[in-house]
């Protein structure tokens, strides 16, 4: 057992966990942040994507100890109170989800993509960059539409700040 200290969604947290604990299980089972999902558990589907120090990673393939000292952001940490993050709002407006299982990971990956590309995103790039996130309902069409829509909204939101 080890004490793992890290920042999650802006709050300092500490948890007593076995060394073999994966980050996703620290989040879901010890911190009760169940928005992050486990899909394939083999680093392929992307349902478990969170940000570590601002970068999208698959939290099923990171030991909790590896995240010690880092700042982790999950799907629960991106809205401002009741105001959805522009990416969440774009997914809602564009019907970017059906069952919703992949959505938390999709949104965390999508925010990372927009952060990296800024305003230079086109459809091909979004499709290519989403290759580590699998959705079995939507056929991706409206997900891609949501990400492109959100890229514009995030630019506007940044300019306003």
């Amino acid at each position: 057992m080890s004490t793992v200290k890290l920042t999650v969604n802006g709050k300092a947290v500490s948890a007593e966990v076995e060394d073999r604990t994966l980050l996703v299980h620290l989040l879901r089972e010890h911190l009760n942040l169940t928005g992050t999902h486990v899909g394939c558990d083999t680093s392929q589907c992307g349902a478990c994507v969170v940000h570590i120090d601002g970068k999208a990673v698959k939290s099923c393939t990171v030991l909790a100890g590896q995240a010690a000292g880092s700042s982790v952001t999950t799907i629960e940490g991106i809205s401002k109170g009741d105001e959805l993050h522009p990416m969440q709002a774009a997914f809602r407006d564009n019907h970017g989800l059906q069952c919703g299982y992949c959505t938390p990971g999709m949104i965390m990956s999508a925010i990372d993509i927009v952060n990296r590309y800024g305003g230079k995103l086109d459809e091909d790039t979004v499709r290519h960059e989403l290759e580590g996130n699998i959705c079995r309902c939507t056929g991706y069409h409206n997900i891609v539409k949501s990400v492109l829509d959100a890229a514009g909204r995030m630019k506007v939101a940044q300019a306003a700040e």
Partner: protein, 266 residues
């Protein structure tokens, strides 16, 4: 996953000392091979020694002659490094094709070549560019480093610290990715060195891991063009054959990927 003890040393020497103390220790870098293998209970290290946060193992240095990548540098950082992109575009391009964006944020060059997966991308660049692998004990040339499937010249407990790639006159990489895993069904890295030598390495194809392809090297040395490979016949002997592709299919892929890589290299 079986129980283990996680360590996070802050130097290479401390990591090596921890390894020596563990009964069956393993080094962890990005963890994108070791953690899945531990989850499947195919590995059960007594101790996991995390090299990923050791400062002396992170960074990229580009000189007139070489691109030197420290071992715990992520694929994302290699793909996005301006000076490295300029010095060896094919190497940065290769890094940008590994896995998916989230995998590239964690996976490292040292982890990739120490593991020497027969379908990993980096071994082809290390071998074709004639890189030098530096460890905490010695320097190993690429020709002596890879020893077959998941096997390298590394001794027990030895740590890769950096990989130094001589800057070539021309280089290109092309891979046919497995549609689900993005590993190379076959990937070929072609190099024309500054002295005019030609080195070509294929990954994902051979049963014994990354390999040089002498027939393609000879043809390209005589005539550096994709068309020069039209009449080259690659033997299917010793190539992998599985549900994703027969050995004949992979033999043809070696040629086709080499042609695309030459075209990309210019």
């Amino acid at each position: 996953m079986y129980e283990t003890i996680y360590h996070r040393p802050s130097s290479v020497d401390e990591a090596a000392a921890l390894f020596a103390k563990g009964s069956e220790a393993k080094y962890l870098s990005g963890g994108h091979t070791l953690i899945p293998v531990m989850k499947q209970r195919l590995a059960s290290p007594s101790d996991v020694i995390d090299l990923g946060k050791i400062k002396e193992l992170i960074g990229i240095d580009v000189s007139v002659d070489a691109v030197t990548i420290k071992a715990a540098t992520t694929h994302y950082d290699v793909a996005m490094n301006g000076p490295a992109q300029k010095a060896i575009p094919a190497l940065a391009h290769l890094a940008s094709l590994i896995g998916d964006p989230a995998v590239r944020h964690r996976g490292t060059i040292g982890g990739s070549i120490a593991n020497n997966d027969p379908a990993a991308d980096y071994p082809s660049a290390v071998l074709a560019l004639g890189a030098t692998v530096k460890t905490n004990k010695r320097s190993i040339s690429a020709d002596d480093f890879f020893k077959g499937l998941f096997t390298t010249a590394l001794a027990d407990g030895e740590i890769i610290t950096q990989v130094s790639f001589p800057i070539p006159a021309k280089a290109g990489y092309s891979k046919f990715p497995h549609p689900a895993s993005r590993f190379a069904l076959t990937g070929v890295f072609v190099v024309k060195t500054k002295s005019g030598d030609v080195r070509v390495a294929a990954t994902g194809a051979s049963q014994s891991g990354v390999m040089r392809v002498p027939a393609i090297e000879a043809a390209l040395k005589a005539n550096w063009s994709a068309g020069a490979l039209d009449s080259v016949k690659i033997s299917a002997d010793g190539l992998m054959s599985d549900l994703h592709g027969s050995s004949d299919y992979r033999a043809n892929l070696i040629k086709v990927m080499a042609q695309r890589a030459v075209t990309a290299a210019g």
